[in-house]
């Protein structure tokens, strides 16, 4: 064999390295641009292969909206992840399993968190103020938000958390006992306990209670349309207006969430939007302008928008909180874009917590935390200029000071 000199070896090595670098960049795992369909920065979860229980636990219900395939595989149709589950697999959201070709939800009648909250806490500022919502959550979530406030339940499997047995009719009875005005499906992600949400909201509606959905809005149109029949109000978290950030911080995509807004709007469900302003990610004014333009074009000016202050939490704990002036600036930008009702959240005593009439600019609702010392609506109209204020208002006695 012909001997190779050291210099020649080094030259050839360098040439080989450079040549291989060109195609290798396609496989470079640290894609910071996030332009492609996915990347290493994508935090989207995966199906838990073979993780389902051998037998069905006590709390289960056959899943809605799924398709049976060959080899007893199923495709979940609730959310855009469309998990394909072989027998024994557990869905990405942790709460659905394929048992012998049938898809079951394991979050049915077993909430892990039950509280009675002021409706303003959801936040819903234009939906029956000063009432309370009987709030329930079950384990699981179809997102992987790095800053999740409720990661203890959203990133857990149903059997991993303490639960209370509360079937839909019992939820309604408990809500009535608590003198709640509505039932809120909240905290974790009600789309993952869709069947429970649907059954409970149906029972609640029949019993004269309102239904409130607090969600990230990552749901397919068909199940959402079914839910819209019973939901009276929703707060949907528009986590950012960037698909890249959705993938990087939340493990989802932007487009399906936008579709949810369009559907809710078309179905005339009252909804409000929240947008958490995360420093370094969603604090870009240009992005906020684009977001507001889209809202104006597709949803109109009447759906309230809440900009929430970020605090370091869960895995996203190496960032500072959002400066208050950023929130103030975004509120102004959104109002300049034409959105009528824009609020600032997680900042006590900010001027952006009050409701001002979009027509005459006078204060309609003064909020001090969850207290409302001033209420200037008559029915659904401004007491001063009689402009119609979007929302669902209590027709009588609403002006009473708490």
């Amino acid at each position: 064999m012909k001997k190779i000199t050291r210099r020649r070896f080094l030259c050839l090595g360098a040439a080989a390295f450079c040549c291989s670098a060109v195609p290798a960049q396609a496989f470079w795992p640290f894609d910071k641009r996030g332009e492609g369909p996915s990347g290493s920065a994508d935090v989207t979860g995966i199906v838990f292969k073979g993780d389902g229980p051998k037998t069905l636990p006590k709390w289960h219900h056959e899943a809605a909206a799924y398709t049976k395939m060959f080899d007893r595989k199923v495709v979940c149709g609730i959310c855009p992840h469309k998990c394909v589950l072989a027998p024994g697999d557990r869905s990405l959201c942790r709460s659905r399993v394929n048992l012998d070709g049938v898809l079951y939800s394991l979050s049915y009648g077993n909430p892990c968190s039950i509280n009675v909250d002021p409706i303003e806490k959801k936040p819903l500022f234009h939906f029956r103020p000063r009432t309370t919502a009987f709030s329930i959550a079950a384990a699981g979530c179809n997102f992987r938000c790095l800053n999740c406030q409720n990661w203890e339940i959203s990133q857990a499997k149903p059997h991993e958390v303490r639960t209370t047995e509360l079937l839909p009719e019992e939820v309604v009875a408990a809500a009535k006992r608590a003198k709640a005005d509505s039932i809120a499906y909240t905290y974790s992600e009600p789309i993952t306990f869709y069947e429970y949400t649907l059954a409970t909201s149906r029972a609640a509606k029949a019993a004269g209670l309102y239904n409130v959905l607090v969600s990230a809005g990552y749901i397919n149109e068909e199940p959402l349309m079914e839910l819209c029949r019973f939901i009276d109000a929703a707060n949907i978290n528009l986590k950012s207006f960037s698909d890249e950030i959705y993938r990087k911080l939340n493990g989802g995509r932007l487009e399906p969430v936008l579709n949810t807004f369009k559907t809710l709007h078309a179905q005339k469900v009252h909804f409000e939007m929240t947008n958490l302003v995360v420093p370094g990610y969603t604090d870009n004014p240009e992005m906020v302008k684009r977001m507001c333009a889209w809202i104006m074009e597709n949803l109109g000016p009447d759906h309230p928008l809440h900009f929430l202050r970020f605090f370091p939490k869960y895995k996203l704990d190496r960032l500072p909180p959002t400066p208050v002036s950023t929130l103030t600036q975004f509120r102004e930008l959104a109002m300049q874009a034409g959105i009528h009702y824009v609020y600032v959240g997680n900042v006590p005593s900010h001027d952006g917590v009050h409701t001002y009439c979009h027509n005459c600019r006078k204060m309609l609702i003064q909020r001090q935390g969850y207290l409302i010392p001033e209420f200037n609506l008559e029915g659904n109209q401004c007491k001063f200029c009689h402009a119609t204020i979007p929302g669902v208002w209590i027709s009588t006695g609403a002006g009473a000071v708490s």
Binding site: N115, A137, L146, Y187, Q368, G369
Partner: protein, 698 residues
């Protein structure tokens, strides 16, 4: 054969020791600024460092066995390469973090470990390679050159490097300047190896120039490498305790300590909760003690018109920054004390109406000292009758996880040993209000009765802290949870479990792989090498135990920790000298030294369990020195017994380093949290007894 300048090689060994210890301390600080600063991460850094060193040593042995010739110029070249990568190593750690992980996010155990191991590999492997390689170089002309000498010189370099950094560099230079300085020392030592080398000398100088340029480039980009993508860096200081950075984003000023946001000037909620929950319970709070403070708290404190407020900040740099950026306002009666909070409470005679602890969770042994039964006993003594103690843990929104539940239960039972009433208030933080008198939970009403205005509590408390939520939290306290004690820090175990749960991982796979590899490795060790393995294990494990005891009894004082590390390093040097002096006693000496180590660990147990509160510092230093001296003594003896040839020397260096790696990891993250320090010491005795038994069998 051309004679080798032995002195030049020895100077390289000493310079490598200096440079490697300075770099080790720098990378530890750098990793702690990039990752969670808990004991697991600290142990992972040291484990990776020592393991990579051991692998580098093995590589030297393997290459030597395959005919890779040792030569002074190659040693010089490798030393220059080591110097060239010192400063870039820090930039790599700093820069690669955001490249690999999502900016602003924390990562769990495995990503942390892999990141540390991979980024440390170039430096760790090379520095481990150089030590035996230096010996091989010396033996090219003097075949019987004693390996013990190299061991001694390396230790000398380590001591010099440790002392230089701890007592000088940390105060005078930034990390990259210090790294560049350490590299300079190495290059200066390496260049004489090229004396009269003709063309090779040219390449050496070219390499030196390259190293200098790289270091210079790194140093001038130091500030830029710390700048955050959001906001601007308006203050940066490396204090003795860690990295302090202040970021400004519009009007908001946030203080970061080791990469984590600590305080901000816009955190009204925390300020109100921390101050009003405890103080509203008292009729006339006059004398208050605050262990750490943040933005807005002084304004809330002032509403009670106290006579004196003693604020304890251990790190003077943090205190300076707090006042400089108005994160803490100066109010009448305020006195800032720069002392360890626990040590202060133990020594002061002053009585307080309230002691408010505003510290992070007990993620480290250092912080755990503020949440033990012994600490609460000390604090109780400094409270007037009816006085209140408060502290907080991380809160939850709507569900208390099992790990948190166990953690809160352990704390509840620990603090309940000292106070009749303990009330937990939920929220973004869970507050413990501890008192011998009544504790009320209707805070807004109480504040209204006293006409104390608040912005957050008066408006949001009733919606966030409903009676149902308060009752649910207090009802979730478990009965059968062990208390958290100094010598048995059960809370650390729960904190580690919580950390793993948060990232959905478990260390089981890591320890399973480690155990298998270790068993395989130990099976290949000779009995004498096992002595070195166990001594390396004992030396590092005992150092962790002494630091731990020191923190319990004397507080976390940077100089003292530096002193312990220096004492441990210093013991190795005379130990190695004694080992060479008496190496002819061979196995008997190994048996004797193993016995001494067992006795020292036993003495440690006696001291810890004696219940004496005022143990002299010198006693622990004596123990540390004796253990390291004894361990150091064994190295030349084993080399002598193993014949002292090149492979034996390399294997001995490896055994020592691998043992030290395991000792650090297993003692600090397995034995102490899960069994307590007394059983950890018993574990070391068990290991050394095994070594002793093997010694008798030999």
């Amino acid at each position: 054969m051309k004679k080798i300048d032995e002195h030049a090689v020895i100077r390289v060994v000493i310079a490598t020791g200096i440079s490697s210890v300075v770099t080790q301390l720098l990378v530890i600080r750098e990793y702690l600024a990039q990752f969670k600063g808990n004991e697991f991460v600290i142990a992972l850094i040291l484990f990776s460092w020592l393991l990579l060193g051991g692998l580098g040593t093995m590589a030297a042995n393997l290459l030597a066995a395959r005919g890779f010739k040792a030569a002074p110029r190659r040693l010089g070249g490798l030393s220059i390469v080591l110097a060239a990568i010192t400063a870039p190593e820090l930039i790599l750690i700093r820069g690669a973090r955001d490249l690999v992980f999502i900016h602003g996010s924390s990562v769990g155990f495995y990503p942390t470990f892999f990141f540390i191991f991979i980024t440390l590999a170039p430096y760790g492997l090379l520095v481990g390679f150089l030590l035996p390689y230096s010996l091989f170089v010396l033996r090219t002309t003097r075949g019987d050159y004693p390996a013990g000498n190299i061991y001694i010189m390396d230790n000398l370099g380590d001591i010099l490097g440790g002392g230089l950094f701890t007592f000088l560099l940390v105060y005078l230079l930034t990390p990259l300047q210090a790294a560049a300085m350490a590299a300079t020392a190495l290059v200066i030592a390496a260049l004489p190896l090229y004396r009269g080398a003709g063309r090779a000398a040219f390449w050496a100088w070219a390499g030196t120039l390259g190293a200098a340029m790289l270091s210079f480039f790194c140093v001038i980009h130091e500030h830029g490498s710390l700048a955050p993508p959001e906001g601007e860096l308006i203050y940066y200081q490396e204090s003795r305790y860690g990295r302090i950075a202040v970021h400004k984003d519009q009007e908001q000023v946030t203080l970061f300590s080791d990469g984590m946001p600590l305080f901000s000037n816009q955190n009204l909620v925390t300020a109100e909760e921390v101050i009003h929950y405890p103080l509203v319970q008292l009729d006339h709070p006059r004398n208050l003690l605050l262990i750490s403070s943040e933005g807005g708290m002084m304004a809330e404190l002032a509403k009670y018109h106290p006579h004196t407020i003693d604020l304890i900040e251990l790190d003077p740099e943090i205190a300076k920054v707090l006042f400089q950026f108005n994160l803490v306002e100066t109010i009448p009666g305020l006195r800032v004390i720069h002392q360890d909070g626990r040590a202060y409470l133990r020594d002061t005679e002053k009585q307080y109406d309230a002691i408010i602890i505003n510290l992070p969770e007990p993620e480290t042994f250092q912080l755990n000292r503020f949440y033990t039964e012994e600490f609460f006993r000390i604090a109780k003594r400094r409270l007037v009758p009816g006085g209140i103690l408060s502290f907080a843990m991380e809160g939850y929104d709507n569900y208390l996880s099992e790990f948190q539940r166990r953690k809160l239960s352990a704390l509840f039972h620990t603090v309940k040993t000292q106070f009749r009433e303990v009330l937990l208030l939920p929220g973004q933080q869970i507050f413990f209000l501890c008192r011998d008198g009544a504790v009320r939970s209707d805070i807004p009403d109480f504040l209204a009765e006293k006409s104390i205005p608040t912005e957050y509590i008066s408006r949001y408390f009733s919606g966030n802290l409903t009676p149902g939520r308060i009752a649910e939290l207090n009802g979730l306290i478990e009965a059968q949870i062990p208390k958290n004690q100094d010598a048995s820090p059960s809370l650390m175990q729960l904190m580690f479990s919580q950390w793993f749960a948060q990232y959905g991982s478990s260390p089981a796979a890591f320890f399973a792989v480690l155990s298998i590899v270790l068993l395989f490795y130990l099976r290949r060790l000779h009995a004498e090498e096992f002595v070195l393995f166990s001594s390396g294990f004992m030396s590092m494990g005992f150092e962790v135990l002494v630091i731990f005891a020191f923190q319990i009894y004397f507080g976390f004082i940077y100089h003292r920790i530096g002193l312990i590390v220096t004492v441990f390093l210093a013991g190795l040097l005379p130990g190695a000298w004694l080992g060479i002096r008496f190496q002819n006693h061979g196995r008997r000496l190994l048996v004797f030294t193993d016995s001494v180590l067992i006795i020292m660990a036993g003495l440690y147990i006696v001291l810890i369990t004696s219940g004496w509160e005022h143990l002299p510092e010198a006693l622990f230093l004596f123990l540390g020195f004796t253990v390291s001296l004894t361990c150091g003594c064994q190295f030349p003896v084993v080399l002598h017994l193993r014949g002292g040839d090149n492979p034996a020397a390399a294997r001995s260096f490896s055994a020592d380093l691998v043992g030290a790696a395991c000792g650090t990891l297993i003692t600090s993250v397995v034995m102490i949290p899960y069994a307590g320090i007394v059983w950890a010491a018993w574990g070391l005795i068990g290991l050394k007894s095994l070594s002793l038994v093997l010694g008798f069998k030999r």
